[in-house]
Assembly symmetry: C2
Homo-oligomer: 231 residues x 2
DNA sequence: AGATACTGTGTGAAAATTACACCATTAAAT
DNA sequence: ATTTAATGGTGTAATTTTCACACAGTATCT
């Protein structure tokens, strides 16, 4: 009986919204498309999923092929399924986001020919993007803005060792408002998951600030029953 | 050039997790499948999306066809895309949830032959479900549990006019813990979006409680800049 | 030596959260 | 008429959290 059932194929895609933080500015990763449709347009890194890979695996592969970036923790956040969102037919897309440190060492280098190049672009003043990617970006930005206050995602955007001022300016960039320095530091430290290091900032022309690290272990212990539900 | 591009078809599905509240218990809507695969199994209401309907439209249609329920506000919450989640091939599924009042008047009556019947089942002691539907349910339950405290979703589960005790017992059912009556009432009323009615409960063999209504207008005013970000 | 630019710190007021117990009202049972 | 069972409805004090707010210290550059 099972043998009689028809067998299904499917065409759907993944799009990735990768956030980074650099020079006090929040940025996302864009590619310049080298393939129709929307050839030469700017777009989010995204492509069609293969039949034999899970959507989570596909997200990793596709991001790697288009940008050269690997091993980020991407999270699915929404699926976009308007009938005409893709000019070639019915293609829904599952959108993922990730937050990463922008790091001069990590070269952005498309592996496939589908992208001509990949680069960081500030989230303010984004140009028009291919497909419905502008909408996808907007949704992603809304999600991380809210999530910032419930999950320790800020630390994925900062270098491993960071100053409290850097952390604060990230919050300010995402929330788009000024925060009080004393209250911010008090609150962050009170959580108990920041590890104070014996090191100081270098190369600044003013008093060097202490460096801190996000301590995943302590975090896991502290929020085992609270914020972790979210995972 | 555009004319040369291949044209895509796709097979993917929608599954719905519909929560209701009755007799102090949280329930979800299940169907008994009348079609292979998983014929005779219990499952979430779900089916394949047509090529010419958006996924949001599809969710409404599918739920209606399998259960007779219409005009709920469903919200997409996750897409499930493991390679072998569907025995007939590659079928990812976009999952939606909704919260509704269980109402004796609304008959549960499948329109198509794909479901033999539709019925409410308590969320505790759920049987094994078809496909990966047990996992889908679990994810949905996690989402609404967290959302309960950020968004006014509780009122969608209660009758239009409800008592504070009913509201409290809903919170207790979802959070699975007892709450303090005085603090709960104080807090709920302090929000200012509950409208006290001149009516009282009827047909109870003890002191009748006042009835309240959720006042969407006041809610929208009060939380315009806060919780509404979430929408 | 002075200018510059940022680091790092404390206190008090206000608001929100928590813990906690008893009398009032109604319908049903006697 | 009285009692019983079940829930409705209410306040206060202690604690915790949030918020507003200002200035001296230090490294670097000139």
């Amino acid at each position: 009986m099972e043998a009689k059932l028809p067998s299904f194929d499917s065409v759907f895609s993944i799009d990735c919204v990768i956030f980074g933080f650099e020079a006090g500015e929040l940025k996302i990763l864009l590619i310049e498309r080298n393939e129709e449709p929307f050839k030469d347009w700017l777009a989010l890194p995204g492509y069609i999923v293969e039949q034999d890979e899970s959507i989570d695996d596909a997200a990793e592969r596709i991001l790697y092929e288009l940008t050269g970036l690997r091993d980020l923790h991407m999270q699915q956040f929404h699926t976009f399924g308007e009938v005409n969102r893709h000019p070639q037919g019915r293609v829904i897309t599952v959108a993922y986001y990730a937050l990463i440190r922008i790091n001069g060492q990590k070269e952005l280098r498309p592996i496939t020919q589908y992208a001509r190049k990949a680069f960081w672009h500030p989230v303010n003043e984004l140009p028009k993007l291919a497909f419905d990617h502008s909408e996808i970006f907007k949704t992603a930005f809304g999600k991380i803005r809210r999530r910032l206050n419930y999950q320790p995602i800020a630390f994925e955007l900062l270098p491993e060792k960071f100053t409290l001022t850097q952390l604060q300016s990230l919050y300010e960039a995402v929330e788009n408002r000024k925060l009080d320095k004393r209250n911010f530091r008090k609150k962050m430290l009170s959580y108990g998951f920041l590890k104070e290091l014996d090191e100081k900032q270098k190369g600044v022309s003013y008093r060097a600030a202490k460096l801190y690290k996000f301590d995943r272990r302590r975090y896991a212990k502290i929020f085992h029953n609270d914020m972790n539900i979210d995972k």
